[in-house]
């Protein structure tokens, strides 16, 4: 479901493919509902080991992140700091992961490539960036840690299933049409980089 709230576009889980149709790269959105941290080893387990993910992320969101958690009483936990980790590490697994789990929103840091872009296009999914290093802003959007699964992976890699409220800002980096913000920007960056290398090289001929 998509809601407009004080000028903010908020995606509320469960999210349908239809909900993502008017969301494009470069848009800034927020998320309400079910968000589960999921990173390296969890992806490997789902894709390579063929294990069933113990938290249902279908039509929900995952976050590439390894948080700092404080254990409370009665098997409850507090989210102290949570921010995204480099999404590119999950790139090689993401097509199969989206296909298998039916996740709709992937939140992380930095860009991803064609595997993920194809998954977004084929299965109706988006990848967003939450500005990284802002772990307290993100943590205060977590209302409750509902479940913790695959705890054997340790604090950073456990699947922390959270209920979030206006989690964001999320900047859309791959939309459901498969357009990729970072890959488009990279073309521009590389062109400018080549110009700069030429310009600087003319001024650093120190070996004569």
């Amino acid at each position: 479901m998509v809601e407009m709230r004080d000028g903010k576009k908020v995606l509320v889980t469960p999210v349908s493919a239809e909900d993502l149709k008017d969301i494009h790269i470069g848009d800034i959105i927020y998320l309400d509902g079910s968000l589960t941290t999921c990173r390296d080893v969890a992806h490997r387990r789902v894709v390579e080991e063929g294990r069933e993910i113990p938290v249902d992320v279908r039509n929900n969101a995952i976050l590439h992140a390894g948080p700092i958690i404080r254990p409370l009483e009665d098997d409850k936990f507090e989210m102290v700091s949570v921010g995204p980790t480099t999404s590119m590490r999950m790139e090689k697994f993401e097509y199969e992961f989206v296909k298998t789990t039916g996740v709709r929103v992937i939140v992380g840091k930095g860009g991803m490539k064609e595997n993920t872009a194809n998954a977004c296009k084929d299965f109706g999914c988006i990848h967003c960036v939450i500005p990284a290093g802002n772990a307290v802003v993100a943590a205060v959007c977590v209302e409750e840690i509902v479940r913790a699964e695959w705890r054997d992976l340790g604090m950073p890699e456990t699947l922390w299933n959270c209920r979030v409220k206006e989690f964001g800002p999320l900047i859309v980096s791959i939309d459901a049409e498969g357009r990729n913000y970072f890959e488009e920007k990279k073309v521009e960056y590389n062109k400018k980089k080549d110009e700069q290398i030429e310009l600087i090289s003319k001024q650093v001929g120190f070996i004569k």
């Binding site: 921010g83 840091k109 340790g154 290398i197 001929g205 070996i207």
Partner: protein, 299 residues
């Protein structure tokens, strides 16, 4: 004070200081980020900077690490031969990290290689990393602390160029890294470059360069010129905050150098993210301390 009491005192102080550096950024980083924030004009860059500054305020207010990746702790130690705790220093720094891991808290970031398990205490074989400089005929001790997060560790790279590739080759090596890995490493970055004789000498210098205050320059005129050229050049690429586009890419470029073998130019690059959690503290022989990186920090 007994030796035991001294060790406990310094351990407690270092644990507190390490924890504090995870919550509040150093003065020079905050000042530079404020300067860069004011120079961005796109709505997206503004939203990102607004989030960054709100996060730093919340971290202090709620007393929590500002970034969840509190890194592997690294200590750059300059220790006088007469410092009373020179023998205990490395052990007490390890204890301080364990203490901070639970009291701050810090994320568990030490995975034993080959056995591949997380120790859960942020210490392991060789971690935290401690680099020593011994200062003869001095009874004080100076320590740089650094939280080396995963994101900004990834772009690190070192190679040995042939002299024919020259400083032009150094330029290409550094700039290529910015558009391939740098944009994912949380710009605006602080870029450290080591120019030396082999991979390990260059690599160590490239990280050491990140301990220098922002705005400082290499004392060699040509190296300082190259710092400025690289800074302007990387800024012109326009990575912006989070690599999503903007007018600036870096907080600075620092080059550290040594002499080289005539047949080789060792070059390395290391980056610090915008959340550059560096601390600097100096102890005298009585364990009185001076913190130069963070005003208003009391242990």
């Amino acid at each position: 004070m007994t030796k035991e009491a001294q060790v406990k005192k310094m351990t407690d102080m270092m644990a507190k200081f390490v924890g504090f550096t995870g919550i509040k950024l150093p003065d020079d980083v905050i000042a530079k980020l404020e300067e860069l924030r004011a120079k961005e004009d796109s709505p997206m860059a503004k939203v990102i900077y607004d989030t960054m500054f709100r996060n730093q305020e919340l971290a202090v207010k709620l007393n929590r690490p500002s970034c969840q990746d509190t890194g592997v702790l690294q200590f750059w130690v300059k220790c006088g031969t007469g410092f009373p705790l020179i023998n205990e220093l490395e052990g007490l720094l390890k204890d301080a990290v364990v203490q901070a891991t639970f009291s701050t808290p810090l994320r568990h970031n030490s995975v034993e290689t080959f056995d591949e398990y997380n120790t859960g205490k942020n210490v392991g074989k060789g971690t935290p990393t401690v680099w020593w400089d011994i200062v003869p005929n001095w009874d004080g001790c100076e320590i740089y602390t650094y939280m080396a997060g995963g994101g900004c560790t990834l772009p690190g790279n070192a190679t040995v160029l042939m002299p024919g590739e020259g400083y032009e080759g150094v330029t290409k090596f550094v700039l290529d890294r910015m558009t391939s890995y740098g944009l994912n490493a949380c710009p605006p970055l602080l870029v450290g470059v080591g120019v030396a004789t082999s991979v390990e000498t260059a690599a160590l210098l490239s990280k050491k360069a990140l301990m220098r205050p922002i705005g400082s320059h290499n004392e060699n005129e040509r190296a300082a010129k190259m710092e400025k050229l690289l800074e302007d050049g990387i800024n012109a690429i326009g990575l912006g905050p989070q690599g999503m586009g903007g007018n600036y890419s870096v907080m600075g470029v620092h080059i550290e150098n040594t002499a080289r073998h005539p047949s080789a130019i060792g070059v390395a690059v290391n980056v610090g993210c915008w959340s550059h959690r560096r601390g600097h503290i100096i102890f005298d022989k009585d364990l009185n301390y001076t913190i130069t990186s963070h005003t208003g920090c009391e242990l």
